[in-house]
Amino acid sequence: MIRASHRQPGFAAAMVHRISGVALAIFLPLHFLALGLALRGAEAFDTFLAVTRHPAVKLAELGLVVALAVHMTLGLRVLAIEFLPWRDRTAVTVSVCLGMAFVVGLLFLLNAA
């Protein structure tokens, strides 16, 4: 059971922001290593890319794209609260942030997956 003071948009936003950030931080070194494979030549890279066509990998990629998008949109919300004289209506703003992130995910699914 989630306590009442946590059942509100500001906290949910912070948790999504935090979890997506940690996920991205864990993923990044792996991403860099994968790209570094290009150093070993196109063949090595293509072999790796073949692996990424697996649907499970595509799903993970979708998750990462959404994570990146949501981390950015919620981060921009934080920057706006901190540096602009902006009074957000939290529930609305957070919903917009999440919505935009899902749109990005959808675009990814439709185009690049």
């Binding site: 931080a25 070194p29 901190e82």
Partner: protein, 109 residues
């Protein structure tokens, strides 16, 4: 979190806002119907501007991610103090080294 870390975090965030938007756009628009080494190389090979942009991206991430993780670890685990800062500093260096290597890899590809 000190003022210096805060500034570094927010400044790198601002840089990343631009870099990530561009990166997401690239992923969605440029990567259609599959991705191959040739396609990546076609875009990045010998592209100095892209190398510089990716390097800036990498440096911003190498600053931003460890500071964020520092907050999370300090607040959600018992780990704090100098050892945490050193570990995260090393993580930042790791990100920078691997990231610049990756940027170089696609530049040379």
């Amino acid at each position: 979190m000190t003022a210096v870390l805060f500034i570094a975090q927010r400044a790198s965030a601002a840089v990343l806002a631009i870099a990530v938007t561009a990166h997401l756009a690239t992923i969605i628009v440029a990567v259609r119907s599959g991705l191959s080494a040739a396609e990546v190389a076609a875009r990045t090979h010998g592209n100095t501007a892209l190398l510089i942009l990716y390097s800036v991206f990498v440096l911003a991430v190498a600053v931003h991610a460890p500071i964020g993780l520092r907050n999370v670890l300090r607040e959600w685990t018992a780990w704090r103090g100098r050892s945490l800062d050193v570990a995260l500093g090393l993580f930042g260096v790791l990100l920078m080294v691997l990231g610049l290597r990756a940027a170089l890899a696609v530049f040379l590809a």
